[in-house]
Structures are given as structure tokens and as C-alpha cells.
Symmetry: none
Subunit: 212 residues, 4 copies
DNA sequence: GATGAATGAGGATTCATTCAT
DNA sequence: TATGAATGAATCCTCATTCAT
């Protein structure tokens, strides 16, 4: 009846739940990485998490929801780790440096969280109907747009969006290659991704530099 | 039962078989496009082809085999339509023209054969275990390498392969964006893809031009 | 922990328990009405009641028990509302009036408590294995027998029971029709039910009237 | 290539399928009778039929479809066995005879096909949303209306429909009682059902007889 | 070759019920 | 008491594949 009992009892309960959720998400990450999103089964996720199927459904209504939550948490962690700082770029920063550091950070995060790729890639049907994927994609596009906005302050919104899509596409394609290689070759691919992006954005940004 | 029948019957049978195979592959293309490779079911393909599942298995041992054959035929048709010409490029051709025409041709083919994208994309698991996908990918890489070889005759093979992977990655990412849009926006994305590729390759090719 | 607490605590607990039980039964009524008895789930009942599944099982050992208790309370309320009066009928009362008022009262109760129908109907298997249903049914039959006994004092028990079953069957069938309609049509069906019962019982009762 | 081969091959195929369908429907009838429609599971039906679940789904898309087909076949058999003759009644026939023979025939059919009752009863939720049940019910109402139309040629359609619903309700309630008893008691209930119906319809038909 | 019936394991999801807290 | 997490069998249904005809 005291405040503590009313606050802590539920907290302890929720704590167990939270642990289970984390455990399930981790298992889901594992399974998504191994088999891909489409082929991943809720039963497999539950098995990987060492719980019964019923338990999974106590926390998530379906596979989609798991993917969405996973994506949310990843984006959250990304923001926490690298800060909202992805966006604002000091106009004085040379383009190569800006791109280089952004790519490095993204890559670091993606190599540490391979699920991210699986989620970005999404289901294999061209149009990709999945909410999870769409949501993640939209968030990413937003962040890239933010970054680009600081680099290309005078670009019309439509162009900016298009450029963001192209950059993200390049990054995703590059990421696939990076993840597929190791060591020196991986590093080489990272360099290529940066190159492609820098060279692609250079002319767009050029005016700014020219004026400065 | 006579000798003649032994000569002609098989021919007729093979002809019928060929028709069936074409029919099945077309149906498979349709289904792959609609549902994606992973989610496509052999039963659905058979239904779409208007034949029984058993018939399908008379020509293909499994889903994989269908995808592989489909990829082969697509590559074949691509070669027939655009010729081996993709590769040899007159060293005098300006880079933009070479890239532009190659992208246009690829894009034309891909828009006419949407399956191609589904096959390239393959199942959604990162590492891509599927033979069908791998095979198609390898062939494509080969062709791109060929094209690049004529542009960068002095590049070491490892660099060439890497560059080919990057170019194909850019192209695939671009294709996804192109297919996702229509009209003017689609055209704009096509332009962007060309831009990206040209700007990426320019410095590599530069020496050649400089020398010329 | 003191003696007083042993006297008062239980009372408070019982009071709370009673409230919980009432709450659960009301929720169960709601769910039974919405989804039918067979399809009703204990989890759904608990959710509807705003408590956890565990709490439900603290008061009821299973779904059956809920239905039984619900039936009991309904019968109890029925008795309290309309009195034991259902049974004793002044022999001088004309049959139509006796039947008419009995049907009206039953119908009023049933329209106010739609669960009643769900419970009477019971699970959809012909033989009705459910205790809940059986118990309710038995009680109802008993009451109808009581009513009939006052109308047909000389009928042999076996006939009386049979007649009671027939009357209850007619009433239940009629109730279904009544509940399925509204307004004037509903009223018309109520009239029909009365008609059927009166006409069915008339000849059986006739002797009594003739003799009197 | 001859007509026979084209006609008979499929026929033989279909023959196997027809047998399976009959077998599945019979199994479904069994299961519906035992457990009721709502609680019946497709797996249980398949098991009862001695086939795998997949086989069941080759012929029926879901439980509903099984029930519908079962109902259709039952109605069909009913019509074939007792003829469309249920409807037209010679105006000279005494009411008791007409009702008596109709009830006898219905009862005979229903005792021989206990599923019928399960299907008529339908799922246990009051509103009964099931197509199978609705369809069967509609057909039955239609037939009863036909019968009544010949007895009450001057009744307005709305009354006729209502009367049909009441009669069918009485019959169904009676059937439940009849099926729940055996031997002499069962016979007694059959008599009661006839009584109820005759007494209910007598006054409505009376004019006709009066005039005759 | 062609058919379509048959399989049975596996998919997502639900549910009555139990148990630690 | 109350909670809500946990269970695991059971639900419906699908699918790649095989096989008798």
C-alpha cells in the first residue's frame, strides 16, 4: 500500500518482462541474420531464445512487431552512441572528412549490429510491404536528409530527398560488399564507398565551397 | 515404334517439353515478381502456369533450379539482345557515353524483365546462400568486369574485380530506386545512377584520357 | 495478525473477493454473449474484467465453473426478481393469462440478461456435455414443472416432465427468434410463442377447467 | 488423344477425389456430431478420415467449406429421398395427416443423419455468423414456407415467413428432445412435436377447412 | 509426359492453466 | 490476493516434394 510497494512490485515484474524482451530481440536478431527476415520463423526465434512459442506471443503480436521493435531499438542505440550529431556538419569541414566520418560511424555500427543490414534489406519482394522495413528506411532517409541539408543548404527539397535516396542506396550496396569481405579487402571497400559518395556529392556541394 | 517415330517423336516431345519449360519459367517470373523469391511457392508457380505440381517437378528438381534456369535464360536473352557488345568499348568513346549507353541498355532490359531484379535481389538473407542468385551475380560481375577491362586496361585484376562489384552494387541500388518511381522522377534517378558511375570511374579512367 | 484482524481481515477479503467474483462474472457474461460459450477464452474474460489470468483462476478452477456460477446467480436473481411465484398459479387464472404473464416475465429477464440465452444454448454439441448447461437446464425444467404442476395437478410425473421439456424447448426456440428481431416483429414473435404454448397446453388443462 | 482417353482419364482421377471428399465429409459428420461444430478441428476431421491434414485442404479451403458442402449434400439427399413432395399438400388432406407425415419424414431423415442436427444448431454464439448454418437454415425455411403455403394459401407473406420460423423452431427444439431419448419416450416426444405443430397451425388453417 | 492426390513437417498463433513473485 | 510471465499442446493452414495412375 506504500508508494514503494506499488512502484517496485510492478517494476520487478516489468524487469523480468524487459529481460525477456531483450532476450527475444537478441534471438530474433540472430535468426534474422542467419536466415533472413522472410524465412525467419517465430518458432525459430522462440527456440533460439530458449522459450516456448507462447512466451514470444506474450510480448509481440507477430514477426513484424519484433522487427519493428528491433529496428526502433537499433535506431535508438545508434542515436545514443553517435548522437544526433550525424546531421549538423560544420560548413567548414571538408567534404571528405564529413563523409568519411559519417561512413565510418555507420559502418562501425553496422558491423557491430549485423541485424541492421537484414532489417534494411527487408523482405525480398521488390516493393517491400513490410512496416518494419519501411519504418527503418524512413528514419534512415530522414537522418541522411538531415546530414545532406547541412551540406547542401540551397538544394530544393525534392532534389535533397532524391539525393538522400541515392546516398543511402550507395551506402547499403557498399555495406553489403563490406560485410562480405574481411581485413584489407573490407577496408578497401570502405574506401570505395567513401569515394563514391564524395565524388557523387562533390559537384553538388561545389558551389558552397566555391563561394566560401 | 518405327525408326521414324524414334526420330520424330522425341523431337516432338522435346518441343513440347521446351514449351512447358518456357511456360513454367514465365509463370515463375510472374510469381517471383509478385511475391518475391523466398515467399514464392512451387505450387503457386505450377498453378500460374496452369499445370499440376507434378508436371513442374518433371522439368525442375526444385525451386532453386527454376530460378537458376530463369537467370540463365535472362542472361542469354540479354546477350542476344544487346550483344557481347556490352564489353568492348572503343577507347575513344567518352566515358559518359559509354556508361550512359550501358546503363540505358541494362535499365531497358530490367524494366522489360522485372524478374531480373527479383533474382538479383535474391532471398533476403545477407550472405545469399542461393545458387541461383550466386550464379546470376557471378555472370553479371563477369560482364561488368569485361566492360571495365576495356575502360581500365591497366588496372590490376583485384582492383578491377572490386570496381566491378562496386559498380554493380551502385547499379542494383539505383535500379531499385528507378523501379520504385515513374515518369520524370524515374528519369531523374536514371540520371543519378549514371552520374554516380561516371563520377566514380572518371578518376580511374582519367589516366587513359590524359595519355590519349 | 491479532485476533481482531482475523475477524475483520477475512471479512474485508471476502468482500473484496465478492467484488472480484462479480466483476469476473460480469466480464464472462459479456464475453459469452459476444463470442459464444465454446469460443470464449478465459484470458479474454480476465482481460475484459481488467484482471490477470491468475486472478481469475484464484476464484474459478476453470471455464466451466464460471459458467456454472453465472448460471446459478442468474437463476437466483430470477427467483428474487420474479419470486417463486412463477410456480403457484391460482387455478382460477385463465390459461392465457398464466402463460402470458410467465412468458412475459421470462422474456423480460432474458432480454435484460442476454447471457442467459448463451448459457441455455450452451456449447453447440448436440448432447450437451457441459455441467453448466445441464445444471441450468435442470433448474429451469424444475421451475417449469412447478408451474405446470399447478396447472395440471393430475398429470402423471412422467407426462409432466415431458410436457415441461416440450414447453421449455418451445420457449427457447421462441426466445431465439425473439432476440433475432426487433420492434413490431419481435412483439409478433412473442405473441406466437404464447400462442404455441397456450394451444399446446389447452387440451391438457381442459379437463381441469371442464370439471371446475 | 481419343475422346475416351480425354474423358475417362480425368474421370478416374476425379473418382479418387470424389471418394476422398465423401470420406472426408463422412468423417466431418462424425466429428461434428461428437464435438459440435465450433469445437470440431480440421485436424480431427482429417485424422478421423485417416488422411493427413494436407489432403483435407486439397479439397476444402476450411472448416466452413466442409460444413457447407455437407449441408448441401444432406439437403440434396433429403430432396432425393423424400422428393420435392414435402411442399405440395392436397388441400383435402387433414392437417394432422399432413403434419404427421411431414414430421415423420423429417425425423426419419434426421435420425438417420445426426449431423443434420449439428449443422442446424450451428455455432453456439447467438447471432450465428456461419455461412454453412445460414445457408442450411435458409433452405429449410424455404421448404417449410413451401409446405405452409399450400396449407395457408391466403396468409400474407410476412405472416407465412414468421409461421415458418416458428414451425422450424418448434421442430428443431422437438428434434433435440427426440434425439435425446429412445424407444417409447422418443416416440412420445415425436407425438408431442406433432401435437404442438398441429395445434399451432389448426386455427390458422381453420378457415380453409370451414370453407371446404 | 501429365495429372492431381497425398504427405507430413513446419508455419503462425491461441489458450487453458500453472507458478514464482 | 494479485500479478503476469511461462508453458506446450493444439489450432488452422501451407509447402516442397513424391507417387500411383
Amino acid at each position: 500500500m506504500s508508494d514503494t510497494s506499488e512502484n517496485e512490485q510492478p517494476r520487478r515484474r516489468q524487469a523480468r518482462g524487459e529481460r525477456r524482451i531483450a532476450q527475444l530481440l537478441q534471438a530474433a536478431a540472430q535468426v534474422f541474420c542467419t536466415t533472413g527476415y522472410t524465412a525467419a520463423s517465430t518458432n525459430a526465434i522462440a527456440r533460439e531464445a530458449g522459450v516456448s512459442p507462447g512466451t514470444l506471443y506474450q510480448f509481440f503480436p507477430n514477426k513484424e512487431a519484433i522487427a519493428i521493435e528491433l529496428g526502433d531499438r537499433l535506431m535508438h542505440e545508434m542515436r545514443e552512441t553517435y548522437g544526433e550529431a550525424l546531421a549538423p556538419v560544420d560548413p567548414a569541414t571538408p567534404l571528405e572528412e564529413a563523409i568519411g566520418s559519417a561512413v565510418d560511424r555507420f559502418m562501425a555500427f553496422n558491423t557491430e549490429h549485423p541485424v541492421f543490414f537484414a532489417l534494411m534489406h527487408g523482405p525480398d519482394l521488390p516493393g517491400g510491404i513490410t512496416e518494419a522495413h519501411d519504418q527503418l528506411h524512413a528514419t534512415l532517409i530522414g537522418r541522411v536528409e538531415g546530414l545532406l541539408a547541412s551540406l547542401l543548404p540551397e538544394a530544393p527539397p525534392a532534389d535533397l530527398t532524391r539525393t538522400a535516396h541515392v546516398c543511402l542506396g550507395i551506402y547499403k550496396a557498399g555495406l553489403e560488399l563490406v560485410l562480405a569481405h574481411e581485413g584489407a579487402e573490407r577496408a578497401a571497400y570502405v574506401r570505395e564507398v567513401k569515394n563514391v559518395l564524395v565524388r557523387y556529392l562533390e559537384p553538388l556541394v561545389g558551389d558552397r565551397l566555391g563561394r566560401a
